[in-house]
């Protein structure tokens, strides 16, 4: 077993592009769930909206790449508005039904034959992120090492831009959550009727929150497709939404830095486990294949088994996150 390789991969995963993308999506979900109490079960739909917003406007409409990015945010905001209109007046679980349904519908629509001329169907859209990489000060195809971390030049550029965005957006969220606006959101999370009785237009705030968090989700989607240089419908599977939920709950909902912490822990763990399993000595590996069917395909599936099991256990025993205090949980169950 090549422990050096496994550790190198795990270290690189700790702050890698996936962490940035998932942390951004989780920042959006944190605005929704952590601060406002909105049960958004379709965050991946907002990522898809961002991804297709830029991919389609550049590839199909032939727009300028940067205009495409702006369009992606507007598009995600409009999507949030449309999903919020029928649901935000209703009990919390209705939003979850509609968002999960909508995110799955977006995926099915994008991969359909009918939409193929626009979205590229199952194959998706490629080669549109050129202008982004043109700006890169790093050689795209060269490997760069920083201490234990090692990335391709194109990823270094993505990481530089990505982390800058992530930190800026996180600071922005921290700023608004410390303001009276954020206080009102947190009040709504605790008790809508109390906020209403104190003159707050709850529906309006929830809508703002849904749009704000959805647009942050779109940033994640845009960054993801830039990094992959392609938009593919099946990468926006509902299970991604719940990976993001797991990440958020690992870090602790309603805490500013939890999305970054959660994403980093999640990806380090997953990359470590997957690489370790792939690198097992052949004899042991064969035994495991025979006894518990540990094929390459199943190693990939293991990630989702961990996500599911993790989410189940976290929601049950540590809904305040692994760093949250017991007292805080006691307040929840009052």
């Amino acid at each position: 077993m090549d422990w050096g390789f496994i550790l190198e991969r795990s270290f690189s995963a700790m702050i890698g592009p996936e962490v940035v993308v998932y942390a951004l999506a989780a920042v959006g979900l944190n605005v929704h769930f952590g601060y406002t109490g909105l049960m958004n079960f379709g965050q991946v739909g907002f990522m898809a909206a961002g991804a297709y917003g830029v991919g389609v406007s550049v590839f199909w409409l032939g727009w300028n790449f940067w205009v495409g990015i702006v369009f992606a945010f507007v598009y995600a905001g409009v999507l949030a508005l449309l999903l919020g209109l029928p649901t935000l007046r209703l009990r919390a679980d209705y939003l979850s039904l509609v968002t999960i349904a909508a995110s799955e519908t977006i995926r099915l629509l994008a991969r359909s034959r009918v939409m193929q001329p626009i979205t590229g169907g199952v194959e998706g859209v490629n080669q549109f992120a050129g202008p982004f990489y043109d700006l890169s000060p790093f050689e795209l195809g060269k490997f760069y090492s920083f201490g234990p971390f090692k990335y391709l030049g194109r990823d270094v550029w993505v990481l530089l831009v990505g982390w800058t965005l992530l930190i800026m957006i996180t600071l922005m969220v921290r700023q608004v959550m410390r303001s009276p606006w954020g206080r009102t959101l947190r009040a709504i999370r605790e008790d809508e009727d109390a906020a209403r009785a104190l003159g707050k237009n709850v529906y309006f705030y929830k809508m703002q929150s849904l749009m704000f968090g959805g647009m942050i989700g779109a940033v994640a989607g845009v960054l993801q497709v830039i990094q992959k240089s392609s938009v593919q419908a099946d990468t926006f599977n509902p299970v991604i939404t719940f990976t993001i939920w797991t990440i958020l709950i690992i870090g602790g909902p309603g805490r500013v830095w939890s999305p970054i912490v959660g994403a980093s822990i999640y990806w380090t763990l997953i990359v470590f486990v997957e690489n370790t399993l792939r690198q097992l000595p052949p004899g042991l590996r064969a035994t495991l294949e025979d006894s518990i069917q540990l094929s390459d395909f199943n190693i990939a599936m293991l990630r989702f088994i961990l996500v599911g099991g993790g989410l189940l256990l976290l929601a049950r025993f540590r809904p305040q996150g692994i760093f949250g205090s017991r007292e805080e949980m006691a307040l929840d169950r009052r």
């Binding site: 079960f41 509609v98 349904a101 189940l312 929601a315 809904p319």
Partner: protein, 448 residues
């Protein structure tokens, strides 16, 4: 009642062990297929009398990958190594005399194989005396009747799945996102009993003669799958949700738990079952019977009749039996039910068993065409639309909602591509929430 609870725990443990054993055992029988993906299709044409005829013995091939010959049901499958684009060719020389491609230019089709799914291709065939139905209008009475029938069929299956979801919501206030996996569980259980038999399913003794080692009759397999559905429902409530309720986990947190559970189960299924599509030993493909131009296989007809009987029985049971009335009482007003001496936890447990069994039964029917590891997740949206439309928490509403959703989805194919028909469910869901959030049969109360 310490004895009682110890028993419950023992049963729960056995149930879990059985459940895991089932999936683990099956995997070995699966013989490590590496060819998880493929291009499939069915060769058929409609003859002068309007009957479908399947074409056997036709050779098809994908260059550099492999080939296949269609079987007596006209079915063929060519395995491919990785997802991607494949060009599949039909050897026209092997077609029976008098049968030709409808479009002679299209003996060569491109199949786009995606991850986790077989890709179906269609080679339209005709004979000289084929009834050409191209001119038939989309909106013909025949077509609409056919779609309505398909819709009712879908609606009946959906209703069985939806009632459990609705009852669990009614009694506990919990939207169970893992309900989809209860449906899949039924499909997979039926498949395993059907293919591997009574004991073979549990991972041992697969060398024994049928019905122990070999597959059992599909009807028996369906019954067993339904029972296993009840067992899983019981176990999930006993091991996960009852303790959560007891320690005061909020409903929203419980909802997140159901999502975690749903993903856990779904990916355990794919882990042990594989992503390949399979079919039951029996009833996989049947020739349709025709009545007044409407086609229905005997299999589907039987399943529909069974569904109707079950749903009527459920309706009678909920209204006339003690258990059923207790379920409705708890749904109506939990506190009142509790203060009038009903053991609420017991009722909730019964609801999970009952809902799990119904979901599993619907799963066995949904699996008629293909058995898939995520079959439940694919229709979860429809189930949600059905229960929301009918009114969350009302069992009769779930039935009405399911029938409407089933028919609406099939009718929608008159105007939109079949591939997108499930989108109709989202539209139904949103319209229901906009116009009547409490559902058609829901009581008007505060839902906001």
């Amino acid at each position: 009642m310490p004895t009682n609870s110890r028993w419950a725990r023992a049963i729960a443990t056995i149930g879990l062990a059985v459940g895991l054993g089932v999936t683990a055992g099956s995997g070995q029988a699966q013989a490590q297929v590496s060819d998880d993906l493929g291009v499939i299709g069915t060769l058929q044409y409609t003859d002068a009398t309007g009957t479908k005829v399947f074409v056997a013995g036709v050779e098809l091939s994908i260059a550099d990958v492999g080939g296949a010959t269609s079987d007596k049901d006209g079915f063929f499958r060519i395995s491919v190594p990785v997802p991607g684009e494949y060009s599949i060719t039909l050897n026209t020389a092997t077609l029976p005399v008098g049968v030709t491609l409808k479009d002679p230019e299209r003996a060569n089709l491109v199949a786009l194989v995606s991850e986790n799914a077989d890709q179906r291709v269609i080679f339209p065939l005709i004979t000289a005396d084929s009834v050409v139905s191209v001119s038939e209008s989309n909106f013909s009475v025949r077509r609409i009747s056919q779609l309505t029938l398909e819709g009712l069929k879908l609606g009946l299956y959906l209703a069985m799945a939806a009632i459990g979801l609705s009852l669990i919501f009614g009694t506990t206030g919990l939207v169970n996102f893992a309900h989809a996996e209860l449906i899949t569980w039924g499909t997979l259980m039926a498949y395993f009993f059907n293919i591997y038999g009574l004991v073979g399913t549990f991972g041992f003794f697969s060398v024994l003669p049928p019905p122990f080692g070999g597959g059992v009759n599909f009807i028996v397999a369906t019954l067993l799958a339904t029972i296993m559905g009840g067992v899983l429902g019981f176990v999930l409530n006993r091991v996960i949700f009852r303790p959560a309720r007891a320690s005061g986990v909020s409903l929203l947190a419980q909802m997140v738990m159901t999502i975690g559970l749903s993903i856990l189960l779904r990916y355990l299924f794919v882990y042990f079952f594989g992503s390949r599509y399979r079919v039951y030993n029996e009833y996989a493909s049947q020739r349709a019977n025709e009545f007044l131009g409407i086609e229905l296989t005997s299999r589907d007809a039987a399943a529909m009749v069974v569904s109707v009987i079950i749903l009527i029985a459920v309706g009678i049971g909920l209204n006339l039996t003690r258990t059923g009335r207790a379920m409705r009482a708890v749904s109506d007003n939990r506190d009142l039910a509790e203060s009038s001496g009903i053991n609420v936890e017991r009722v909730i447990s019964q609801v999970w068993i009952f809902g799990g069994a119904l979901a599993a039964l619907s799963g066995t029917f949904f699996g008629f065409d293909t058995v898939k590891w995520d079959i439940g997740a694919r229709i979860l949206l429809l189930v949600f639309a059905a229960v929301t439309l009918g009114g969350l928490g009302t069992s009769f509403g779930a039935l009405v909602g399911a029938l409407i959703v089933g028919v609406a989805i099939n009718w929608s194919t008159l105007v939109i591509d079949t591939e997108l028909k499930n989108m109709t469910a989202l539209i139904v869901l949103i319209l229901a929430l906009l116009l009547r959030p409490q559902g058609i049969l829901g009581k008007k109360q505060r839902i906001g």
